[in-house]
């Protein structure tokens, strides 16, 4: 096979993967939305006479150590993962892009201060800091989102700052200034649209990171709370019963992995489309 065709095949495969990932994510969003219709049992309803039922029959993915239906729990957990992923990225992205624009466009003391805070933030072992903060603040959806947003804003500052520095020197910015546009107008109308593309690509990967972060915190018992089903929490409970019920840990684990994998291939695909120079 000649190399031109080989790279064409690669690209084809890559985009097909991205498409497959996109379809999976769409199904996930739909299933999270219609969780009450798709579930076959109350996800928190315990029934000890039905514990450790293997997959099949009335319970397609089996039941856990408390007799709860694994399929229903997996479907409901998707709501938590998607909510946390979207909310954490929205908060981190808004704060990060705003600070990055200010930092890159205006420079000077403000830039030094923001860059210093970002470097300090990066020095922290993220998960350890997240565990400590949630442990001191207490578990819960809001606190988890807050902690994950704290861990995510630096990436946006870096991307936005670099792009703003670059755009600042371009002639259309100079032209806008010469035409009498205010600084605020130059930033919002001329610089901001140019940082959007890398920010969108970064956001896909950040959603994946936030979803893993939430699952990790829930796995350690510091997530959204034990009463709410979540993939990480399901894994944490099921790991003590591996010999009795492999399905109770395997399906939530598979759900996290497929979700993260789908987001990653969609992100790769978006990057290829937006910025072909970065194609690997």
């Amino acid at each position: 096979m000649n190399s031109a065709r080989a790279s064409w095949w690669r690209r084809f495969l890559r985009q097909r993967l991205a498409a497959a990932g996109g379809i999976f994510l769409a199904l996930l969003v739909v299933s999270a939305f219609f969780a009450p219709l798709l579930s076959i049992a109350d996800p928190v309803q315990q029934n000890l006479s039905l514990r450790f039922q293997p997959p099949g029959g009335a319970h397609p993915l089996g039941t856990d150590h408390l007799g709860r239906d694994v399929w229903s729990r997996v479907v409901y957990s998707g709501r938590i993962s998607l909510t946390v992923g979207a909310a954490a990225v929205l908060v981190a992205g808004t704060v990060g892009v705003a600070l990055g624009l200010v930092s890159g466009f205006f420079g000077g003391r403000v830039d030094d201060l923001i860059s210093w805070i970002a470097t300090v933030q990066l020095a922290f072992p993220f998960l350890l800091l997240a565990i400590a903060v949630v442990a001191f603040l207490g578990p819960g959806l809001g606190n988890v989102i807050l902690v994950l947003a704290i861990g995510g804003w630096v990436g946006y500052v870096r991307v936005t700052r670099a792009k703003a520095l670059e755009v600042r020197e371009r002639s259309f910015v100079e032209a806008a200034r010469a035409a009498g546009a205010s600084e605020a107008r130059v930033v919002t109308r001329h610089v901001f649209p140019n940082v959007l593309t890398p920010v969108i690509v970064l956001s896909t990967f950040e959603v994946a990171r936030a979803i893993i972060g939430e699952a990790a915190l829930s796995f350690l018992g510091l997530g959204v709370g034990i009463a709410t089903p979540s993939w990480g929490g399901m894994l944490a409970e099921a790991k003590d019963y591996l010999a009795e019920a492999w399905w109770a840990s395997t399906f939530p684990g598979l759900a996290i992995m497929l979700t993260v994998l789908s987001i990653n291939v969609v992100g790769d695909g978006l990057r290829d489309v937006f910025d072909p120079r970065l194609r690997t």
Binding site: I117, A123, F124, P125, I131, L137, L235, M257, L261, N264
Partner: protein, 305 residues
């Protein structure tokens, strides 16, 4: 050169200063740290007494100065659980975590380097596709699920390895694979794409045109150059592994820093939490500095800004 190193050194100290502020603030997140010290039902008088005894009645800036004074002497206070110096407890656990991180990195490199090279050389082959699919899976696999899955397969179904503890090399295998998987996947992808880029460069074509054997072209010319980005991030990878071992240590009951820190967090043993977070951040900053300095030596073209 000396000026650059001096500036980077100063910068590192200023970052550690910021780290110390956050570590200090951590304890005050809950409001009143004295509530972490006292058992539930302690009277108001006793609480006030405890507050005085620990200097928690002083203004915050004064408390911070006292804290940072202790930090510079390596004094984070005593563990609330067993009254031993907090820093000593943390340093005692560091070797176990280092051993785990080093093993994880070794496994990652042993697997990633050959797969990365072969994938680049046989670009577009079944082997390349398989390698990339595995790398993609590896990068998307959360450590906590991989750990649970490995226990399920290699402890429960096929009892080859112990489920936890730190007795002998057997107990190191599963945690090291768990921790190293992400790095393995990423290194494979980075090496493959770097190698592909280098293989298309003029000097590689020249070497081939001179009639150099393919083996020599790949090993001497291409690989050496494509390894630069891999090698320069190794130190940072190691730092990331140290910090990332928290969950792996938790799953496999590995007696390292992460497990100590999580235990201390649950027990609200804040001097130990502060010492652990500060030590890991310091190691990260130190390795970062070392990488930057090393990079200047390895690549004289780098602009010293």
């Amino acid at each position: 050169m000396t000026g650059y190193i001096g500036r980077r050194l100063l910068q590192s100290v200023s970052v550690l200063f910021g780290v110390s502020m956050v570590v200090f603030a951590l304890v005050h997140l809950t409001g009143d740290p004295v509530r972490l010290l006292a058992p539930i039902g302690t009277s108001h008088e006793e609480l006030a007494q405890l507050r005085r005894a620990h200097g928690l009645d002083r203004p915050l800036p004064e408390q911070y100065l006292k804290f940072i004074g202790g930090v510079t002497r390596g004094d984070f206070g005593k563990s609330l659980r067993n009254q031993q110096p907090a820093l000593g407890l943390v340093v005692e656990r560091l070797p176990a975590t280092l051993r785990l991180a080093a093993a994880a990195m070794a496994i990652a490199l042993i697997v990633a380097v050959p797969i990365g090279i072969l994938s680049a050389l046989r670009r577009g082959s079944i082997f390349d596709h398989a390698g990339m699919v595995i790398a993609l899976l590896g990068q998307s696999m959360p450590v906590f699920w991989l750990g649970v899955l490995l226990i399920l397969v290699f402890v429960v179904l096929i009892p080859l390895f112990p489920a936890g503890g730190s007795q002998g090399w057997q107990s190191l295998v599963l945690p090291a694979i768990t921790l190293g998987m992400y790095n393995m996947a990423r290194t494979t992808r980075v090496l493959r794409s770097e190698l592909l880029e280098v293989l298309g460069q003029d000097y590689v074509r020249t070497a081939r045109a001179k009639g150099a054997p393919e083996m020599r072209v790949v090993l001497r010319h291409a690989l050496r150059n494509s390894l630069i980005p891999v090698v320069t991030v190794l130190a940072l990878d190691l730092a990331a592994l140290l910090a990332g071992s928290v969950i792996t240590e938790q799953i496999f009951a590995w007696p390292g820093l992460g497990r100590l820190a999580v235990g201390a967090i649950y027990a609200r043993d804040y001097p130990v939490v502060q010492a652990a977070v500060f030590v890991v951040a310091t190691v990260y900053v130190g390795l970062n500095l070392a990488t930057d300095i090393l990079y200047v030596f390895l690549n004289p073209q780098v602009r010293l800004t």
